[in-house]
Symmetry: C2
Subunit: 232 residues, 2 copies
DNA sequence: CTGAAGCATTGACATTTATCAATCGTGTCT
DNA sequence: AGACACGATTGATAAATGTCAATGCTTCAG
């Protein structure tokens, strides 16, 4: 693998504290590949052969059952995904597909596990990462169980606004059909939900969202750090 | 703390491999307490002062938002809970209450974090535990997103049956109102869902569930190891 | 420029789920 | 035994969400 990405990857929390030699070893065994959009990188149920890192582009994690499909999360650069399956040497619970042209690092799971056993700093870093993933999953479950679809959309908009710096005008970076799936509803209902937010100070035009009444929206959405703050 | 529980706790996967001295140190700083039923042990949002271990009885993890409440999981002996919050030194995302008279070990979170930094074996064991928790959370999200309430109930019954050894007659160990909350529905709908399963070979009488047609139920429930097998 | 493809939107309708109120059943206390 | 408390069930109704079909709007290839 080209050394040009080393520093980017190294700056990830999971790899930051580990031993130099171990990191080199990990990188030497890994591959970097470019994928076109809509390529299925992994399929749920398969053994976890590689730990993945998105360097550029974006990746959708989704799951299927009985002919239905749901989008579980979107991975943006630079981050790893399916770390838990790699560590436990267990089958993937989600499938992954590129949303756009993406550059992805593949690190053989065996190597990750071997170095996990050797390098205590690496092990500790993985603890931090997994705890984060777990807590994010719990938050997402709370979002789903405690809120209606309208409330989920309202809070999603507020989260995106925060990520974008707090401006009253933000842009949707995902297709609406995928956003609908992510929010646990149909595209038709997402359309209606956007209309349902007009009384609370939200207007939509294509990908542009305009928050005309921040206070009103927040009063309706009732965002909570225990659900909506993905950093803690 | 009394030494009589040491071996029980030590046999937990998280504590099994760690250094003897470190384990002793952890135990020396911890408390064992007996709680009556319906006591709120922790509240979401609070700082995570203690790692908890249920020795006997059972504990319900639940969350609230905007006046609504949902049961997230039930903890049975012997297991830890809220490990992620302890390790990250972050606020609890869920509240916990005893369901029955319960014996609980409280280990100061500071001690856990200190020993986590010192003992590499402990750190690795925590990785295993967190990966497990994460994967269980993902499975539960898939259950919720991909299945109707009737399907969730059907699969719940099959999981309980497996846990109970596979007999055609099993007993519900939880109140129906709490089961309803856990399955993401109202008690009224749980009643109707049980009736809705009669055509697929399930009859209910109080706490007793009788699976009269195993094949039919499985054909309807379509259980999947990627959702319903909590061990992998 | 034009047509085809694909997503988004809308309306009508069906299904699922929640809510409210009443009733039933069971166990407990006196 | 009788009264009470409490969860479970039932029925009627409302609200939320999904489905289907038709239409609108962009984008992009030819």
């Amino acid at each position: 693998m080209l050394e040009s990405h080393y520093s980017d990857i190294r700056s990830l929390e999971v790899f930051a504290a580990m031993d130099d030699d171990q990191f080199e070893a990990l990188m030497r065994g890994s591959y970097v590949q470019n994928f076109p959009p809509q390529i299925e990188l992994i399929s749920e149920g398969e053994p976890s052969d590689f730990l993945h890192i998105v360097l550029s582009g974006s990746v959708d994690l989704f799951s299927s059952w009985n002919g239905r499909e749901t989008s579980m999360a979107t991975i943006h650069p630079i981050s790893t995904f399916i770390l838990a399956a790699t560590i436990k040497d267990a089958p993937y619970l989600m499938s992954a597909r590129t949303l756009e042209k993406s550059r992805v690092v593949l690190i053989p799971s065996q190597d990750v596990r071997a170095i996990f056993m050797r390098d205590a700093e690496f092990a500790r870093a993985i603890v931090g990462e997994l705890a984060q993933c777990y807590r994010t999953a719990i938050k997402s479950t709370k979002d789903l169980r405690l809120r209606t679809s309208l409330e989920r959309l309202a809070n999603y908009i507020l989260r995106q606004q925060k990520r974008a710096g707090g401006s009253a005008k933000i842009e949707l970076l995902t297709e609406k059909r995928r956003l609908a799936s992510y929010l646990g509803m149909t595209p038709e209902n997402l359309s209606r939900a956007f209309k349902g937010l007009v009384p609370y100070g939200v207007t939509v035009n294509g990908n542009r969202i305009h928050i005309t009444d921040q206070e009103d929206l927040e009063r309706f959405a009732k965002p909570s750090p225990l659900i909506d703050d993905y950093r803690t």
